[in-house]
Symmetry: D2
Subunit: 360 residues, 4 copies
């Protein structure tokens, strides 16, 4: 089997994780690592002596043997670098958030479609064993109809100087929601506050409203003394609590739910009556493989087999649209509609088996 | 010392706790228990054979020896019962929320002022040892300037058929915030959802904005598989995490905070730079006395000594104003201003020592 | 249905809980409360005005209408008071530990047998919903063969001045083990230490060895800064973790276990090979009724229907025998055999349904 | 500054961690990696292309430029490999447990002394930031006199086929204790059980008795469904709980303790009276540097500066003596004395500053 020839651009905070995982994937030949800062390249050279390092992105674009480019640079450069890569007929994996605007995302989607190239966004959590296990429970209908999605991702800092806490943290949770629910929200309300006097919000709360009374809420903060990564997903049949930081039983599936009886004449007004059910909890085991390893393998599959990525450009576009609208709501104090069109339809239930595929 | 003669009306969910605590207070003579349901009274008779039971509220109003009436009936009856009690020259302790509307609250406040009677609202948490200890830390300036207040109170519900989850759960957290911060919010945004088809929200998120970028957020739900009662209070110097359900270390005070340096010319734009500090955590011990016992003792002090209650009618009014505006925001989808006037000014830092006073 | 006439002797730490539960049981007429300290009686009179109080135990013994006596006095008085009660033809419920010596326990068992009276020991935990649910899982064979039982009960203690930490805390855990496993240990090793210079151990570790390599271990301490009540019960098929202090999921049943393959010739020595299995965890719901309420109801059933108590005198004897041997091991530094005979055979699997029985 | 030339032998479970840390230390030239299995070497070659790999240990011994050898092979080979290395004038860092017998340990200590070589044992936890922080609290006298040390290290195991759970897990906890307390136990009791029919205990409990009523207890198991790494250290003034698996606040220092008053005549017998004190808890921050990185740097310091290692050969000998005696106790059922002599005196309080030293 031939190896996929890959170059990575951007060796900052996340880049080295991508580099390590592409380096260790046996179906990949990691050919280039590119960054503007020579010191960062020197460090990587010592670690990966067989990989070429360059400060010149053009080296990657102009190498006809290179199949794919992985972009892990600051957000404001994503569009330009990805556009160049696609135009040079390279498959692309781009760090989240996909771009700084939904217009840019849409352009990249169109360009990749036109050229028949793989365009994938690094929404890593969609490849986490716990999230995939939750996806399985939802797909099997274990939860019944989904009633709400509630997410908390808070900690003490890294304060960013160019983007607010929504752009920094919310893509994780929005992409998990997008993957798990496969539904598109209609409106967004966002509130928040900036305490540094620089106009960059460090705390934000986002509410998404869907059809059918489904509600999603996201709490993101750089100002919490405790680190929390928790989700609650409530259905009519079962409810899930997912705590990414607990050492054991990250996923807990509760046999709890509500049932709504027929309207009754109560106190001379017709109301529905709600009853709830409390049963056992179970905590499933799940695949402990590093999420990024699964993702890299899935990217290789998609490029080699022409498969559509779980977290394709359209999912990146959907997430950026929500964040744009959320930021507009934050500035105006008004709820905002989230645009939808045929381009970025949500994922249907898909049989995702990147690990199995890998072993072929 | 003479005993305070007290009657309690309402023997539903919370009433029996009030009855027990008034019964056990040595400065109180619990004279009456009143309810419309004779079976409930029969049960209490067996337990407290020395107390008179009656289905007729008039018995309490017309007894010239009775000093005070405690109202623990459904919210919609609070105004009428409290108005009658004050008009009959009885001091009043009323269950939360104080009334179903802020107009009613204001009327009661005026009536109590006019008659020189004690009007207190049963915001129990203000008397909880943990909350009082947090209050002490804030008053001493340990936290510096308060940046945010974040509260979560969720569980698998008792679904109410007449009020939504805001009226049911939020008074607890709003009254804790009111007591701890002593500041009045300017605007409120609320979002939420109803899943029972009866128009009564079972999940709600409330954001309050204050001056000085202080932000408060409240998550209340009847639909969570896990029971959570958590608060985060962030200051420039220290931050507090308060978990009411953990068996140990409910209060954790983190020596963590942020400092904002002078604006600097960074990348040719002037921005403030934020740094943060991570130090030790400490968890103070606190008074474990039952909150309701402390509150009952404080009510007795207030009546006997003409002291102003911590949770007086004005605090009840402030809480109801916030909830009214929150519900309006929920219905309209628009942020709402919260009315303020001279009547309900927030509490200043006050030297609260109900336990010490009791021992006189 | 006629009521059981009951007297309680001893109003110290635990007595009031027994008094409250007997008072509230509708099949009981709580006739007497007895204590040597008149002030304690005065307090209870105010609370339970219909109950006779007395400092004279003889009043209970000589009342021909009294059916049963509940003994909640210091351990050293249990034997004498129970012997007098049984001799006066009263059924007896006695606080744990049953007596200060196994010889005394055996005498009481023989006396109760002779007279056909109910003799029950207040091993409260055997009536706790969580423990009964674990018992169910073990009886159904869910755990397979039991491999070990490990218990930790530590806190910053009430130091006793007359008994050591084994006599104070271990009866809880030994009685849970006795109830759950239904097996009798052969030998005991105990170690410990005394830090107060009074010869009374405040930390102790007890190991019990059974047939079939079953091992049980108990860690009891008055000197721990954290309060812990945890048990692990390991079987070949499943394993249980029981944490009595966690607010949720006190019982966790792990689908984990080991299997031992046939001996193999490894490195020229014959050894068995061990493999282990890691599967899901589930946490069952259980009856939340107060354990003492269930126990009191069970006692009433036993007296009225001549039923054999779950925690009969023989179980009390078994627990005291283990503690006697453990203390001897502690003093001598040597392992001790635990005497067994026909008198105190362990409980077989019995269909325990005190709650169901109660509703008849 | 000249670099230390180092070779590592053994590339199994732990070896790769040592290799990575020696490779990344700038004062080290990692020259050799040695293992009997060529496949393991091949894997490492790809990762560290500049390092020589060999299946022949003699290559390391005979290289006159090589300064030090790191031994991470199975325990039974430690003695022979370390003896050869010291005889070839190489400094040695050997994996724990140091050797399979105390006699072998003593021989290595003598040999290293004779040759003036550094002999250090890889008791990694002594270099963990949390453990060093606890050491600091003890050295400053914060805890007062130490009363007890209690350790739990349990999980669902890697069952070993050649050594029991004591040899596998207890060295971690014994070395932490040895480092923290600096005292030598007098006697050991051990109990345990084997469930695999191969004579290898999978559960064991060890009690150590010291002078002055200090007691230490160790619970080690391969058969627990939950993974636990917890320690309690109690002093007369303060007490510490250390949980290595909790994501936050691993170290909690409780202002709790006991005080023993003068003997008093209570109930006509003279007893000491114990009172206890409950105050705040604090959780200090600590150095998060990887323990093995600190240890490797300390080893380099010791070799280059002739400094005595924190975890020198004598500490290795002390740990093995305790384990030998514990295993004898396990087999005989009798408590065993632990030999002491001038060779292996416990560490006195030493000013340990490996990180500071490193920056020279």
């Amino acid at each position: 089997m031939r190896q996929l020839s890959v170059g990575v651009v951007g060796c900052g905070y996340w880049g080295p994780n991508l580099i390590r995982n592409f380096y260790e994937n046996e179906r990949v030949d990691l050919k280039y690592v590119c960054d503007l800062v020579p010191e960062k390249l020197a460090k990587l050279e010592r670690r990966y002596p067989t990989v070429k390092t360059t400060v010149n992105y053009q080296d990657l674009l102009s190498d006809p043997e290179l199949d794919a480019i992985v972009i892990a640079t600051p957000v404001r450069t994503h569009f330009r670098l990805a556009q160049q890569a696609l135009s040079a007929n390279k498959h692309v994996l781009v760090e989240k958030p996909m771009c700084g605007s939904s217009a840019e995302c849409a352009q990249l989607v169109a360009l990749a479609d036109e050229r028949g190239l793989t365009l994938m966004v690094d929404h890593t959590f969609a490849y986490h064993g716990a999230v995939r296990t939750i996806k399985g429970a939802i797909e099997r209908g274990e939860l019944g109809e989904i009633l709400y999605f509630d997410s908390v991702r808070i900690n003490l800092g890294l304060f960013q100087s160019d983007v607010n806490v929504i752009w920094d943290l919310a893509p994780h949770d929005l992409s998990i929601m997008d993957y798990l629910l496969g539904q598109t929200p209609k409106t967004v309300h966002a509130t928040g506050s900036c305490h540094a006097g620089n106009g960059i919000e460090d705390i934000a709360y986002i509410t998404l409203n869907f059809d059918n009374n489904l509600i999603a809420h996201f709490n993101v903060s750089w100002l919490s003394p405790v680190k929390v990564r928790q989700m609650l997903i409530g259905g009519t049949k079962k409810m899930i609590a997912y705590d990414d930081l607990t050492p054991m039983e990250k996923i807990r599936i509760y046999d709890k739910g509500i049932s709504i009886s027929e309207p009754q004449n109560v106190d001379s007004s017709y109301v529905n009556s709600v009853s709830y059910r409390i049963g056992d909890m179970y905590s499933p085991v799940y695949d402990l493989t590093e999420a990024l390893k699964v993702e890299v393998s899935h990217f290789v599959d998609c490029v080699l087999n022409g498969q559509k990525p779980i977290t394709d450009g359209r999912s990146g576009l959907r997430i950026v649209r929500i964040m744009e609208a959320a930021n507009l709501s934050l500035k105006t104090g008004q709820p905002q509609e989230i645009p939808t069109d045929g381009v970025a339809s949500p994922i249907a239930n898909q049989s995702f088996a990147p690990l199995e595929t890998r072993s072929k």
